[in-house]
Symmetry: C2
Subunit: 332 residues, 2 copies
């Protein structure tokens, strides 16, 4: 028997249809093996990318040379342009504005053979701190209202280069998806004076039905109404609305939870392509009582088709309870 479930934050309905379900081993992944050929993200090829925005190097202050551990560069084919004003215009029924924004790439490791989950917790912590640093810098630009940080891993998840990297887009509009989360959680807060995410955390910890793992500071769950099989959320147990405004020690905690979750997904599903997205508050906003930053990981196992495009609803063949069970029982 399939069931409709409603996401408690944005109100999106999802059909959990486990009759169509598969075991993790049934998901056939496109091969993710790292090929040969020229890679512009590898050390020694710094001159093949646009000049770097920043990099972590221990032995030199020189720019655009080797010796770095993390390197941030402008996207060579940016979706948005760093120059110019927003300049809104209208033509009859149509509104437009200049494609102003920043589009940056964070090369997470010099080692072409490593995926994010292969890095140590300390190395991933440094990536988290670079995220924070870039958000802080981009917040100084008054044109930008939101910074979106995400990772496309594997061809099927939209990555055009295989060398491990994440992306930052700073834009003058709060994204539709984030607005829905902000509105949903604000409505809940106005009614109950509590953060809906904090409430969900309490309920998940109490029932343990969908918990993948938990540390002193972080909770990893399969959400109640997941759009996709093995969709996984990482939430700090304490309430922080902005990723970039946490106490220092929390970045290592985030790194540890991320490595744990990705490792479990990799072992359960055979290193699938995936996206992860950092959901945080609009950068210019004050601290929000109703919004709780978190990371959503989406393994790319299924194809989004006509039903999803037509309805904005999702059909998910794996219940979050069974996905949580698989992921919890992974021996690392």
């Amino acid at each position: 028997m399939s069931e409709w479930r409603k996401d408690p934050i944005v109100g999106r309905w999802v059909i959990i249809s486990s009759e169509r379900g598969k075991r993790p081993s049934d998901w056939a992944n496109e091969p993710n093996a790292k090929g040969g050929g020229f890679c512009p993200f590898c050390p020694g090829n710094e001159s093949k990318t646009p000049p770097e925005i920043m990099a972590l190097r221990e032995l030199t202050n020189e720019r655009d040379v080797g010796g770095w551990t993390i390197r941030v560069i402008p996207n060579k084919f940016p979706a948005v342009n760093i120059e110019g004003e927003v300049n809104p215009k209208g033509y009859g029924n149509f509104d437009m504005m200049n494609g102003v924004g920043a589009h940056e790439v964070i090369i997470e490791t010099p080692n072409h053979a490593y995926d994010l989950s292969d890095l140590s917790i300390n190395e991933i912590e440094k990536i988290m701190l670079v995220y924070r640093n870039r958000i802080d810098e981009l917040t100084k630009d008054p044109r930008f209202r939101y910074v979106l940080i995400f990772k496309n891993h594997g061809v099927a998840a939209g990555a055009s280069l295989e060398h491990s990297h994440s992306q930052i887009i700073a834009i003058p509009i709060v994204p539709k998806r984030v607005s829905e989360e902000l509105e949903g959680s604000k409505k809940f807060y106005q009614f109950k004076k509590r953060c809906i995410y904090c409430d969900v955390i309490k309920q998940e910890v109490a029932t343990q039905l969908r918990v993948v793992s938990m540390t002193e500071n972080f909770l990893t769950i399969e959400p109640y109404a997941p759009r996709f099989p093995f969709e996984t959320w990482l939430l700090p147990l304490n309430h922080y609305s902005h990723f970039e405004r946490m106490p220092e020690f929390m970045y290592k905690e985030t790194a540890s939870a991320l490595k744990d979750a990705l490792s479990r997904i990799n072992l359960a599903l055979g290193y699938p392509p995936f996206n992860f997205i950092l959901h945080s508050s609009p950068i210019q906003d004050e601290n929000l009582f109703h919004y709780h930053w978190h990371i959503e990981i989406i393994p790319k196992l299924t194809k989004v088709a006509g039903f999803e495009w037509g309805s904005g609803f999702y059909i998910n063949s794996t219940s979050p309870e069974s996905a949580a069970e698989y992921l919890t029982n992974i021996i690392q």
Copy 2:
């Protein structure tokens, strides 16, 4: 220079970033060649599907035998269940209800080798009339508020069987995407007392910037703020809110416009995988002055990645103006 464009109906922003653009011939499609092997949708294999709901046969009244031109069957792996009541329930923060709904498959032709666009206008008209018939039947079930009709063509677009077919899902909730269209167009109507779609049609016909083709009764355009390269919309020139409530002759007009649009897309893009979705009003609603039914065709050329999942916005590398130019100049 890329630009942000706002969909005039739902208010969704799209980044048109033509610097990343490609020519139609640059889109590498996964092969769509029709393979061998057993096909449950082929004539002679009627016993391998669930018993048919209806079929068009000229020579016999017998059911579940050959001799049909179009055949409608229940989906063998339905996302929703036809039996039971909706029965909403809550557990703490979480709401759910039974996965009640109808999930049907329309086998569009007995000929395994034919795609929808290979059929004659008369044959496609019959499919349109079957759509109407099924909507009318499903409207009699008071549990259902919406009937979604869509087609997944090709593996990359989510089709699990290659024999040409479309799908019908009847559900107890108006889909989120449709709600957004209904709300956006209602707001416009309350303000201007005009249908936003009728307004867009007028503006598109006047500028011709994004028109692919036009007949006496139908307009095919690339929309102003398309999510995807070569996203194509078919709109009746006259205002009808419900697909199933048009005058009889309009179904042939719809068939003709659909064949024309699919043929142009096939020739321009080398028979790409695609989804099409029929956007119509909620079945139980009276005729609506503010909503205008239409078809959206989405060729599956790109991969939806972290940016889109995180933002609900889209980055599109092909401007609708250049896509319209390609499609208009196709010689059929």
